[in-house]
Symmetry: C2
Subunit: 489 residues, 2 copies
């Protein structure tokens, strides 16, 4: 894998100059064509041996390409606000738009490489890191982000010589970092770590390229050639299914919406008392010191007019305004369409001690987008797996994730639609879309049942609430939230 | 000011019900009309006595209006990432788009109110807080954000009664916060603080409205009426000049661009050595422990083809990729046009220990937007003051702000344009815009001289660098950066 790079090949000045003009013109042309098409973003992950000149890649690409359409995405140790979200959060946040290029330093490979370069690597951690990387790259690759990964490599002798050469002159000595000086001692372990990481994550859809780095000219040419080949690749590659994780299997065959007890109700007199007591328990739970290290993610889905808004208000009534955010989800905006589907939801994840409420959610892909044909079948089928993985990352990081489907019968929905039409201040809640959706009641029902069967998990359970009696539904939702919080804290 | 609210007026159930339907219909209508026009955002600042039911305002407005177009912006004590930027950063970050409504809790009034409610308020701090608020609200009001401020008020007796009533039942006792219980003791000081804050910041363009809050029904009606009046106000109000701060006066009358020594140059042989040594000093300065509590903001402006890109690469060559961000500035995108002009620059401010590099900047408003007529004369004239205030906030928070104008002569520009046209890989750098701008050389020159005269300040100085010799310019820029860093650290 590293054989060629280990031999420290070089390129003569003449050969380099012959290549330079050709490569620069070709890179610019390829960059503009991609911008024009705006079909996929390109992420260039930079890794390799310290002191191999990785940093020079930024200046090279910014000089040879049009730098206005390149972002350098460089990450150090996670900042406090980054530590409060799952590890992949900061990478999701910075994804470039379709057509654009990102150069990634300090990427999602750092934890894997650090573990693999330990004296005694812990096998289970390595496998967990690799698994997280494979899933992440699979989601991106399938959804509009192309990835190439460059490993900068040279022999330990060349590395040491380069370091000494730089140190010899005050004009260049500052370029040597403490890490560069330590390379020789740890060289073999770094090579092994790289070999392992590459072996575990070298998918055809997100390939590694080893760049011989002992010679500045050859490094520049090989980097450019790798980027050029990536820019020119038009067809989105097929993602290796082994990388995407197993498809989400239905948890059970039951058709859940039909089996609900829609007559469930609560007496009006009891309602206010029960609601107030539950709100009190909720208020206490989220103010408890234990909650400061957790977070709460609430998803509200349901048929039109099922009562999501009113239910959410009963929940937020118990919360301090500084503690929660409500994200109403509708059709994605232009800049959201330019990123993978889950991007806009990742951006709304709560800090620790906070509550994120989604009024509709990432489930739109397997509901409205599926039924209305807004997402291709491959995209919404893939989404079950992607969503499960997303929610697993939340839960593993300490978020309590609860999902509610507020279910009404077709008759009750009709009654509410009519009531809304007649009310001067509820009229806005009913649109031609609502009536159109209603005509597809059966298709939506099938999509909901599929969704419930494939995305109900222990770490992010669905609660399906019969909501023909709004008060009953509100009390049930609060009950589930309070129970989950009291159990977890 | 508080006389009516202090008398705890109330509204009968009948009177309330007669108002409710009318207000809800009117609020919705007004909200949709504003969304449709999308001319201004509306910020509703919520403040007042604890336990006056401020929080209920969120639920009220979300129930009576269309909640999909309302954002609740609630702020607690600043988080670590917020402390790393100037105090107003987090408010700038969250500004809603034109047409939309934001309800602000924990607003920019908190520091002023806390200071004013102290046993011995410090007059100078009060004045500084008030001044910062007035400037902030003046910038927003003049640039597409309408502001109303609601003060929720009731007598100390009514407050205590309300608290006791809530405490009497387990269904409502949880609504009482520790702050609510302390009100009675500090009531007079809270009233005085409110009176003072309102007096210092009650501009016609950002008015305060006192909401009597002892009675839930009256509070709801008065809140709705205040919001309704604001939503209906079509014309952007004239901002009181006393609030915007004094207009930026020219620092000197000299025409600086004409007085430069464009023959300044550096020998090619010296260049590499000097550059390397300066880069070394820069690298050491930004890696020093002292820099971890500062940040660096570099602005690069200049005529087309003056060499900004090449200069920036010589600077970043000395930096760790994790330490800097380059923001290339071009015409604002749609979602940026929906916010005040400075919004997109506020969002790019560096953390502590980081460097933000702007390739073109907020000076576009007084350069290209002025010359090309993209900003109204009132807008670009106002911008000098707004920009000075913005940079002052950065500097006061510890940022080192340096601004460079790279100056070439018209002849040299022409030579570079032709060279670019003939180079297969520099061709992309020259566009019809460049030739068009060149025809307005004189107008741009006048705009630059005005800009230099009005925005050159001790805390954010301009360095005008003759750049006919690119190498000379690069070395000069590095010299200034290194000197400023070494002086400050």
């Amino acid at each position: 894998m590293f054989a060629e790079a280990q031999s420290d090949p070089s390129l003569s000045k003449e050969a380099y100059e012959a290549q330079e003009a050709r490569l620069r013109v070709a890179l610019l042309k390829a960059q503009y064509e991609r911008l024009e098409r705006a079909e996929r973003a390109l992420l260039i992950v930079v890794a390799g041996i310290d002191g191999a000149g990785k940093g020079a890649t930024i200046n090279l690409l910014n000089e040879w390409m049009d730098p206005r359409h390149i972002q350098t995405l460089a990450f150090g140790p996670p900042e406090p606000d980054e530590q409060e979200r799952p590890p992949m959060w900061r990478y999701w946040n910075e994804l470039p738009a379709k057509g654009r290029t990102g150069i990634v330093f300090g990427s999602w490979y750092v934890p894997l490489l650090l573990e693999a370069a330990r004296k005694k690597p812990r096998q289970r951690r390595i496998e967990a890191h690799a698994e997280a990387i494979r899933r992440f790259e699979a989601v991106l690759s399938a959804d509009g982000v192309q990835i190439i990964k460059l490993w900068y490599h040279l022999s330990d002798k060349a590395q040491a010589e380069r370091t000494e050469r730089l140190l010899a002159s005050p004009e260049t000595a500052w370029q040597v970092t403490p890490a560069d000086r330590k390379v020789r001692k740890k060289y073999d372990r770094l090579c092994d770590a790289g070999r392992l990481a590459i072996g575990l994550t070298n998918g055809a859809h997100a390939p590694w390229v080893v760049i011989p780095s002992a010679d500045d000219r050859l490094r520049a040419v090989r980097t450019s050639e790798a980027v050029l080949a990536a820019l020119r690749q038009r067809a989105a590659p097929r993602v290796d299914p082994a990388y995407a994780g197993p498809p989400a299997k239905p948890a059970r065959g039951a058709r859940r919406l039909e089996q609900l007890d829609y007559d469930a109700h609560i007496d009006k007199d009891d309602y206010e008392t029960v609601l107030g007591l539950l709100q009190g328990r909720l208020a206490r739970a989220v103010r408890s010191p234990d909650f400061r290290r957790r977070s709460l993610v609430l998803v509200f889905e349901g048929q039109d007019a099922a009562g999501k808004g009113g239910t959410i208000r009963r929940v937020t009534h118990a919360l301090d305004a500084r503690q929660f955010d409500i994200t109403p989800v509708s059709a994605p905006a232009r800049h959201e369409l330019a990123r993978p589907y889950l991007w806009r939801f990742w951006r709304r994840l709560p800090r620790q001690g906070r509550i994120a409420i989604f009024d509709r959610s990432w489930y739109g892909r397997v509901l409205v987008e599926r039924v209305e044909g807004l997402a291709a079948p491959a995209a919404w089928r893939r989404a079950y797996t992607e969503i499960n993985d997303f929610e697993r990352q939340l839960a593993e990081h300490g978020a309590i994730v609860l999902k509610f489907w507020l279910a009404v019968t077709a008759d009750e929905q009709l009654r509410r639609f009519r009531e809304r039409e007649q009310s001067p201040f509820k009229h806005f809640k009913i649109t031609p879309d609502d009536w159109r959706n209603r005509k597809k009641w059966r298709e939506y029902g099938a999509a909901v049942d599929d969704m419930l069967a494939r995305t109900d998990s222990a770490h992010a359970p669905w609660h399906v609430i019969p909501s023909n009696d709004k008060r009953y539904a509100r009390v049930q939702v609060l009950r589930h939230i309070v129970a989950a919080l009291e159990d977890s804290l």
